[in-house]
Assembly symmetry: C2
Homo-oligomer: 267 residues x 2
């Protein structure tokens, strides 16, 4: 019983804050146990996660070291989840003018957001982002879910310069889908020096927004280490940025109302 | 060992999706155990959560019944967390023109969002909302975190009518802080019939936005069962809506740059 309680307490801390580095004593909290016992507990939790393919527990050496829970997702569950979403999104009633798809309802479901955040984090943790950046509005919930699993701050690039953002840097760009000049703003104090940004968005057509964010962040000497989108379109095949993760692909949105969405299968 | 694994598997499902109703067999997953054993496990998990004041596990009777994890937060941790935030927000460098406070950085920290979502959900679960509604943009991350702990969908009220939202209902209102006529839009298909909405936002001055959301939602026959904001201002003391939860209060933003933020102490 005693051991079960201790394991639960440690697991809860790890799951409550994925990717956060805990020292062994922080992880144990008020539970009193020898260091060797705690190490065994961590090994048990690691085995539990790896058996279910739900992630692992990494041990980081050194003075600022400790352990952290890195999220994973079994391939079978990942695929089943994406196939279910693809099927829902393929419904003709979701077709909107201009080849867009109505997906705000799906992007408001907490379990969907959580799973997408988990998938993006599991894939992108290796490039070690220390900030998630998104452009308002529809990508924000996805970005929140992703930032949670990476334990990094979220920065929202705005379309308007609001007083609540303080001083901001702005940039014009030509929006690919709307074919007009748009502006984006990012608060001057939002981004740390030497930031490594993961850009997260809901939808990519030509990639103009993703490219503009990259240019805007470059003005802050921010390196964009990755870009992840929920849905990309098949056309144009050549996007303005070349290196990105997409979970779903819209194969075609026809004038007759048919849409065909499918998971993106990675090598 | 066997029991520890089973408890961990059950706990992970419950923590991964707070407030979601699981049947006992869903909760057990691939673990084979008698129903009485699973009930004992649930009792053990409930005792664990209640001892640490991190919530409870409710048993819901009936055919669609099962168990769900309802989040809680110990008063001492709640208060320490809010006091730390109040102290950070009181720094003179956060003072912006018009009596606003720069808080975008704080509202981008995943642990802060998670804790705020937890506090709002713990307080508002009793009014049984089945949807969380927010107005773009700054309140969205808080609304995502809250919706996650309540396991209900999130609906974002927009400031512009975008093609990706489909048909929308719109409404004009006089913004309290900017003293101008603004418009808000909500997608016609976003809200279910007989919705019970919890409105979540980052900041409340006069309450004009919260009041306008209420009026907009009334057009959909949506009942607003609660309103929760992260920070409210002390003045005006009489807001346009009377019944709301606020976590922090700005006591004064002086022209000399001083700000005084403090937790709201509930009875």
């Amino acid at each position: 019983m005693r051991r079960s309680s201790r394991l639960l307490a440690m697991a809860k801390r790890l799951f409550d804050r994925p990717h956060h580095v805990y020292s062994l004593s922080e992880l144990a909290g008020s539970e009193v146990a020898a260091k060797s016992t705690l190490s065994e507990d961590v090994a048990f939790l690691r085995a539990f996660l790896e058996e279910t393919q739900e992630g692992t527990i990494e041990s980081l050496p050194g003075a600022s070291g400790g352990v952290r829970f890195t999220v994973g997702m079994p391939d079978s569950i990942r695929l089943r989840f994406l196939e279910r979403l693809a099927s829902e999104l393929s419904h003709p009633s979701r077709m909107l003018p201009g080849g867009f798809i109505y997906m705000s309802d799906i992007l408001g479901q907490p379990d969907v957001l959580d799973n997408i955040g988990r998938m993006i984090a599991a894939e992108m943790a290796k490039v070690q982002p220390n900030v998630v950046v998104t452009v308002e509005t529809k990508g924000i919930p996805l970005a929140v879910a992703t930032a949670r699993y990476l334990d990094v701050p979220l920065v929202i690039v705005r379309r308007e310069h609001k007083v609540t953002e303080g001083a901001a840097l702005s940039m014009h760009y030509v929006s690919g889908s709307e074919r007009r000049i748009s502006t984006m703003y990012v608060s001057k104090r939002a981004l740390p020096e030497r930031a490594r940004a993961l850009v997260v968005d809901d939808f990519m057509k030509a990639g103009a927004t993703a490219q503009a964010v990259r240019a805007l962040l470059a003005e802050f000497s921010v390196e964009v280490v990755g870009t992840a989108v929920f849905v990309k379109t098949e056309e144009p095949q050549k996007k303005l940025i070349s290196d990105y993760l997409a979970l779903l692909e819209v194969k075609a949105t026809q004038l007759d109302g048919s849409i065909f969405v499918q998971p993106v299968y990675h090598a």
